[in-house]
């Protein structure tokens, strides 16, 4: 990260690199937090719609507003939605399913493929609230990545993804769905079935004390699934290389710092990796406004006029 910071724009080696400064005004702070606030509103809004339908009988067009949960749901009695990863596991497990859930899974898959697979992670998944809280606490406790006791590669989640499918085929039941801490947490919040917060508590401790972004960034097979889907994402963070000073502030706030690979981003004009959750943290903190949400079809690489002498090979040291 320091290496990135020291690279001042070519041609004017003495110009100081501007860094993100926390605004003092309330309006400025809200502006910086705008994506985080929007994400919380969506996350809790989805949860509230499920909860209201279940407990308070909320209706739309005379039908239950949003019946079910994140595994499978129905909007206003007409639009089915389903978790494509759960459905994929059941199909691999060798079971025929009713058409409703297949249609629902296809619709959800198409929607997230357009918006960004991991938009689910950052904007909908209830576990994200837990891991973001852990991340915040970790920051307040000043626990650095170097202090982590547990070290596992971030690609471990893809092993989990493959294992989930293999074990579904071997055991005949949906392997990840059987234990999914996300589904447990979500069911607990909606139905209050009991002990469902255990897994969420474990993940909170893991993320706070043992491994930075341990669950979402290293282990979650569902996140790995959405990362694969996210490669087709049409909504991406566009990167303007011509204005970027490589200050590295975006990398500091990014929960998946590997995705901010300046070389790749400069060449493609956007953050390419499917692991990007479109959370918008980098967009909010960039002092040069080099990062912005855009539709993939409209994104063109905007190279700087004078080539950089040395290009940092990686976005960060996380």
């Amino acid at each position: 990260m320091n290496a990135a910071r020291d690279l001042s724009p070519t041609g004017d080696a003495t110009a100081p690199v501007r860094h993100f400064e926390r605004p003092s005004s309330l309006g400025g702070r809200l502006r910086v937090l705008r994506f985080s606030i929007a994400r919380r509103l969506v996350q809790f809004g989805v949860l509230l719609a499920f909860f209201g339908t279940l407990h308070w009988g909320w209706r739309l067009l005379g039908q239950p507003l949003l019946a079910g949960n994140l595994s499978a749901a129905e909007v206003a009695g007409v639009l089915p939605l389903a978790d494509p990863f759960a459905v994929l596991q059941m199909i691999v497990a060798g079971h025929g399913l009713a058409s409703e859930v297949l249609v629902g899974a296809t619709l959800a898959l198409a929607a997230y493929a357009l918006l960004g697979g991991r938009v689910f992670c950052a904007w909908v998944c209830p576990m994200n609230v837990v891991t973001d809280a852990a991340s915040w606490l970790r920051h307040r406790l000043a626990i650095g990545s170097g202090d982590d006791l547990v070290r596992i590669p971030s690609r471990t989640r893809y092993v989990g993804l493959v294992l989930a499918l293999l074990l579904s085929a071997a055991s005949g039941v949906a392997a990840f769905e059987w234990f999914s801490p996300i589904a447990m947490l979500h069911r607990e919040l909606l139905y209050g079935v009991g002990l469902g917060l255990t897994a969420a508590l474990g993940i909170f401790v893991l993320d706070t004390l043992l491994l930075r972004h341990g669950w979402c960034g290293h282990l979650c097979p569902l996140g790995a699934f959405w990362s694969v889907v996210g490669r087709a994402a049409q909504v991406r963070v566009a990167f303007d290389d011509s204005s970027c000073t490589r200050c590295g502030d975006c990398v500091k706030v990014c929960p998946e710092p590997r995705v901010l690979h300046f070389g790749h981003a400069a060449a493609r004009g956007m953050i390419v990796s499917g692991e990007c959750t479109n959370c918008g943290r980098c967009v909010a903190v960039c002092p040069e406004s080099s990062l912005n949400f855009a539709l993939r079809a409209r994104i063109r690489p905007r190279p700087r006029l004078i080539a950089r002498e040395t290009e940092p090979t990686s976005g960060g040291t996380q």
Binding site: T53, L54, P64, A67, G68, N69, S71, A72, A73, E74, P80, A82, D83, A86, V87, M90, A93, H95, G96, L97, A98, E100, V101, G104, V159, G160, L163, L166, L167, A170, S171, G172, V173, A174, A175, E177, W178, F179, A183, M184, R187, L190, Y191, V193, G194, L195, G196, T198
Partner: protein, 260 residues
């Protein structure tokens, strides 16, 4: 040499990674196998597939829970022996009211519950089993509450006379018939004993099977009419000589056919 060392390190890391994945996979699989073969204690909503298929296809969305107008269905919590997150009900607390339009099954998006089921009386959620030792009727009281609340009255539960040891009077005892019992649990809910003497359980836990090789002729084959004794076939027209009536030694009449 460093290149060789790098290759060596890469190989070592690759092998370690594979070993970690295999270890994790084996542990994960062990948990799955243990859970997927859980003893079927749960009483499922109507139209549920056989337990193993149900466990595999239920997406645990709770759509049936939302659809149930009586709010009897619950998603199973952690560590109860019932697969986590799957729907079930506890008849002693809230039994199934057997809605004729079966909204819970119709709400199921995966087909874990048979959405095409038309007749709620075809549901087999469980089977009522009577603990005769603790049943009031079996003990000689005229309780029969289970018989009266049974929605398939007279078919799923009947009240039959049963000889009594102590006196000449018969007792009237409830009997469950598995060919009609839906497992709704209304009887278990209504049973007035401190702990219900009639319980709904999965049939596989209690129901036996006679076996094909036993021929219960007196139950399944038409009884030979006494007016028309079975013909021998070889001489259909031959008149059967009737045994001499009122032969002496009345006790011997059972052996008469054999002697002849």
């Amino acid at each position: 040499m460093t290149e060789g060392g790098d290759r060596r390190q890469f190989l070592a890391h690759a092998v370690q990674g594979v070993a970690a994945a295999v270890c994790g996979g084996v542990a994960w699989n062990a948990l799955l196998v243990q859970q997927a073969h859980a003893v079927p204690f749960a009483i499922r909503p109507p139209g549920a597939q056989p337990e193993r298929d149900f466990n595999a296809t239920c997406v645990k969305c709770g759509a049936c829970v939302v659809a149930c107008p009586y709010g009897i269905l619950r998603l199973a919590p952690v560590a109860t022996g019932i697969p986590m997150g799957t729907p079930h009900f506890v008849p002693r607390e809230e039994p199934c009211r057997l809605c004729p339009d079966i909204p819970c099954a119709k709400a199921c998006p995966t087909g874990s519950l048979d959405r095409a089921m038309a007749d709620i009386n075809a549901a087999r959620m469980g089977l009522a089993v009577i603990d005769a030792e603790n049943c009031l009727s079996w003990n000689g009281l005229r309780c029969e509450v289970c018989y009266r609340v049974c929605p398939v009255k007279g078919k799923a539960i009947t009240v039959d006379p049963h000889p009594r040891k102590l006196s000449k009077h018969a007792v009237f005892v409830p009997m469950v018939h598995s060919d009609a019992c839906t497992g709704c649990g209304l009887c278990e809910k209504a049973c007035p004993t401190e702990v219900a003497a009639v319980r709904v359980v999965q049939p596989s836990l209690v129901q036996g099977k006679i076996g094909e090789h036993y021929r219960l002729g007196w139950k399944h084959e038409p009884a030979p009419s006494s007016a028309e004794p079975p013909s021998t076939g070889a001489s259909p027209a031959a008149p059967t000589p009737r045994p001499a009536p009122a032969a002496p030694g009345g006790l011997d009449y059972l052996n008469r056919e054999v002697e002849r």
